[in-house]
Symmetry: C2
Subunit: 265 residues, 2 copies
Amino acid sequence: MIIIGEKINGTLKKTAQAIAERDAAFINSLAARQAAAGADYIDVNAGTGGGNETTDLLWLIDIVQEAVNVPLCLDSANPAALKAGMAAVSQTPMVNSISGEARRLEGILPLVAEKESPVIALLLDDAGIPENLEGRLKIGRLLMENTRSAGIPDSRVFIDPLAMAVSTKTEGAVVAIDSMKILREEYPEVKFSVGLSNISFGLPGRTLINQAFLAQLLAAGLDAAIINPMEQGLINMLYATEMILGRDRFCRNYTTAFRKGRIEL
Amino acid sequence: MIIIGEKINGTLKKTAQAIAERDAAFINSLAARQAAAGADYIDVNAGTGGGNETTDLLWLIDIVQEAVNVPLCLDSANPAALKAGMAAVSQTPMVNSISGEARRLEGILPLVAEKESPVIALLLDDAGIPENLEGRLKIGRLLMENTRSAGIPDSRVFIDPLAMAVSTKTEGAVVAIDSMKILREEYPEVKFSVGLSNISFGLPGRTLINQAFLAQLLAAGLDAAIINPMEQGLINMLYATEMILGRDRFCRNYTTAFRKGRIEL
């Protein structure tokens, strides 16, 4: 599974402060620690504070690229910021994200097609996140129609079904998982990514809930996840679940991870 | 999910010793701690050491019934021992177990039918445990034919698909889970129970693996599990997974368990 490190995110208070103060050491450390913990991509989100998103994003990109040799996941709803970011990166980035919102489809899809970037596609549109399965599927199909029209192969699209917090919606995880299962049937080449931690918002024991959700997502065929790779319980559950699902021949990945301290109880 | 406490088992060294020495305090404590940790049934297995299984089982039953007000799960392959045990219990016990082995079917089924006990049915026969899915299904169907002929309603039968250790068989968990899914389709009223811990035999981090397996079993519709209820990680995963699967309206079970210290991180 592709791990996208979530920590450099301007909507988080500490990162926002580091961006405002141009605290390069803070960002550098967050990037380095996530890469060391196994992040395959580092998400960079400059937030929207102060209206300097593009400038802030370019600053973040410079710091992170200097810190680690890991590709970036450029995280913005703003086509201009993404365009500037895509011109500044040294390795093909993942783009996070398009959605069923007209502005994002029109502004971002051509960039993604041109740069041959993998792209995350959120199951929401101008009316917000549909609560039920049928609403999600409708947006998923619309997105696939659009990515195909833009010439983007299905295998470069990572659908994020968007999990609503179970504290506010009992079926929050189920709707996300069922969306994945059905869209995977309809689009066998498409990939799936989930921003994991929202599921546990507002509840105690968040990392336990995140682990339980990850286990079910992996069974449904998750390809990537936006997580905190320093959340040790998630990494443990990832290896153990892949093994349980019969995807770890002779338990080699699991036992190696254990020996190298990558799994830690 | 029904929790069957696994600790009073004469094939485990310490329990065997306690049985041999008639150490009632040891057995009493194991029973009390499992009940306090949430066991719905206490499994009692007298082992086969010394050929006194029936006497030993009756001794265990007395101690456990004095210690706790929880029904027993009488665990033996020996029809005579089970018959004596079923006559000695004060609450309807679960019977563990029948299988496709002729001796157990003939000896145990009539007892189960007469006493209206729930019964665990193992997917093995005189040739052993089939490695592949088709072999398991064949035994499952044979077992159901037999329980139905004996007049036992499907809803009192708990099929145990038997998980082989993933360390020796990469598909060990998958075969068990797939057996469950298919037999559940064929017999909608039948229940499923799994002896959980064998899956992780021979590997480090056993409780992590057991948790990952439990998460997948619950998604496949597990009704009961033979576990160590003091294994806190399993109890945590049980509550979190039920919530993720949309079975915990308003997260009430999860948050209550958290508040009462039943979930503990």
